[in-house]
């Protein structure tokens, strides 16, 4: 059987999660017989990415007005090629917090998605949003959650033994909402509780200021081995302001940790999973959730 050529386009600022997902996809040995997959780095602002040789072209590029020429050239130069776009970036909560002029933004997305034969949402919540905002025709929309290799993480972690340490793992950026978590945690008074924060980013100084004077909060920096980070905590907090999918939630569950997550976007796909509880983006809500977790510890001990 002839191999089909699949070309993945990523732009040079693509986030780490996308590359991890692609690495995992390209490593699937059962696929390699029937498809030949390649990754091509492209410049988002280029006028065109040229004529590409493939049966299917999958775009992981972030749509924007500046990438509109390249997207339209992609369609124009590959009229007979199947074009698929995977939307890794944009969500309802992203739009709410980052886009002052939504009408223009939705128009841009509608135009760019219209160039594609298929648009892939990475979560059901994201797909629901795309339908509600009529960003892509529903017959073009598919939901394919990204997957990464979690086996190693699962193998190298033991279930938590206590209920005292809350962990947050991710880039220290506004998106991740660690400021809300720190404020919520500070409202709890339990002396034995701890909050460990793994990751680096532009908000480090700001977050350290928020945590100042509370010795229970520790910044551990970037974790070389994620298994070690998960092993060091009893529950994982994901207070993200927006999250198209949220791989960290899958990681935490693979590492046998329960999760408290904010009720936004792709994280909501886990609603109903008993291992995950949800919070609003409000420090008082987080205090309540953290206290519930710490309290369940003392109840178990006494019984």
């Amino acid at each position: 059987m002839e191999q089909k050529k699949i070309l993945h386009l990523v732009d040079d600022t693509t986030a780490g999660g996308v590359m991890r997902m692609l690495d995992h996809l390209l490593a699937q040995s059962d696929l390699s017989e029937t498809v030949d997959q390649k990754v091509l780095k492209v410049k988002r602002t280029a006028f065109s990415w040229g004529k590409l040789n493939a049966d299917v072209i999958v775009s992981h590029v972030v749509p924007s007005w500046r990438s509109l020429p390249a997207f339209s050239a992609l369609r124009a130069m590959h009229l007979d090629t199947r074009l698929v776009h995977v939307e890794h970036s944009y969500t309802r909560a992203f739009t709410t917090l980052n886009v002052p002029h939504k009408r223009r933004f939705f128009a841009m997305l509608r135009v760019i998605y219209s160039f594609f034969d298929q648009v892939v949402a990475v979560s059901h919540s994201q797909s629901g949003w795309m339908k509600e905002r009529r960003l892509a025709a529903s017959e073009k929309l598919t939901v394919i959650p990204p997957t990464v290799d979690l086996e190693q993480l699962s193998r190298n972690t033991m279930p938590p033994k206590s209920k005292t340490t809350i962990g947050a793992i991710g880039r220290l950026e506004q998106q991740k909402g660690f400021d809300i978590l720190i404020q919520g945690f500070r409202l709890t008074r339990t002396p034995g509780a701890r909050l460990l924060i793994f990751g680096e980013g532009s908000q480090r100084l700001y977050l350290e200021t928020l945590a100042e004077g509370d010795p229970r909060i520790e910044f551990r920096g970037h974790a070389e081995d994620p298994a070690e980070a998960y092993q060091a905590v009893d529950i994982v907090a994901i207070p993200s302001r927006w999250e198209a999918y949220g791989l960290v939630l899958d990681e935490a569950l693979a590492a046998k940790r329960n999760v408290i997550a904010s009720k936004v976007d792709g994280l909501r796909d886990r609603e109903g999973d008993t291992r995950v509880s949800f919070c609003n983006l409000d420090p008082y809500d987080w205090r309540l959730a953290i206290n519930n977790f710490l309290l369940s510890n003392t109840i178990e001990k006494s019984s």
Partner: protein, 328 residues
């Protein structure tokens, strides 16, 4: 099911409720229900409401007093329409108001809240010659925080789905969800609209025209102004975690606008010290109102200065002159 539900929160509103209901019953778009929420009134509010129930579109819900936000929330819970409008029991809707919003929301599927401008009326129902003519298009969260284009509690018609997106249930609430935060006795509107701007991707947009007659009650105490400022600050503190960068950028200018608004209220109350103090604080907070609305800011300054220097005499005479001019 009616297309629209109009929620009328009413607390001791016997003097104005009948007129309000008449203005709603006279809407040119007629597929709607009216939900009067009697919020524990001690006067004839309920009797007046019941007298209107000959019109099958009118429904009455009674509850122990919860305040304006609580009355609106009860109305929302009872509403069956896909669209929900609000009209306080002392305000009036122009006959074409509902039609304008229904058409607007049908034509613009990404717009969740449709509002209009208002003309101000006094206690006697006379036009004061003052209008609220807000920005109608391209409204951002910053516009809402600075100048709240929705303007008053009787200006907006909202999709039920938007209200559902805003709804939450505090742990101590046993009856129904909250959309408006009932812990607020002032600033409950702006708190809700700002939450809408910071938590949902719905757009808000206005339609042209002064389609609400919004009643201003004269008088009021300066203590009330302090409480109003306090509620406003609590709204900011509550919502800041949603988007700290947004508030870092826009808080000073919005506080300046808020202080200027309160200074104008103090001038109306002829409270010379309060007016001057509030205006001075506004200018110290941010100069954006000076640049963005120089005429209004300067007139506030002039009135506060005259009041401070010469006392209430000139301001009162100016007010009398103005109302004489209008009556001619």
């Amino acid at each position: 099911m009616p297309t629209a539900s109009i929620v009328v929160p009413a607390y001791n509103a016997e003097a104005t409720l009948a007129e309000t209901l008449a203005s709603l019953q006279a809407q040119t778009y007629d597929d709607f229900e009216i939900i009067i929420v009697d919020d524990g009134s001690q006067d004839a509010t309920s009797e007046i409401a019941r007298a209107h129930q000959g019109d099958t579109r009118v429904r009455l819900v009674r509850q122990a007093n919860r305040g304006l936000a609580g009355a609106r929330n009860t109305g929302i819970a009872a509403a069956r329409g896909k669209l929900v409008g609000f009209c306080d029991a002392d305000d009036l809707w122009m006959p074409e108001k509902l039609a304008a919003h229904v058409h607007h929301l049908k034509a613009e599927p990404d717009v969740g809240v449709s509002y209009s401008g208002s003309a101000l009326i006094d206690e006697a129902g006379c036009m004061m010659g003052i209008k609220q003519a807000p920005r109608l298009k391209n409204v951002t969260a910053a516009h809402v925080l600075n100048r709240n284009p929705i303007g008053n509690g009787s200006a907006a018609v909202i999709r039920k789905t938007v209200l559902e997106a805003l709804a939450y249930r505090p742990s101590f609430e046993t009856e129904r969800d909250w959309v408006f935060d009932e812990t607020f006795r002032q600033s409950e509107d702006i708190e809700c609209w700002m939450r809408l701007m910071l938590k949902t991707d719905w757009q808000i947009e206005g339609v042209p025209g002064l389609l609400t007659h919004y009643r201003i009650n004269a008088g009021g105490l300066s203590a009330a102004l302090d409480r109003q400022l306090e509620a406003w600050e609590r709204m900011i503190a509550k919502l800041r975690p949603l988007n700290p960068e947004f508030f870092a950028r826009h808080e000073p200018s919005s506080r300046a606008y808020q202080l200027r608004y309160l200074a104008r209220r103090a001038i109306t109350n002829l409270d010379r010290d309060k007016a001057w103090e509030l205006f001075a604080r506004s200018v110290q907070e941010s100069l954006r109102p000076v640049f963005e609305e120089p005429v209004k800011t300067f007139s506030t300054f002039a009135a506060a200065l005259v009041l401070k220097t010469f006392g209430p005499g000139p301001i009162t005479r100016l007010g009398q002159m103005k109302s004489k001019l209008q009556s001619i």
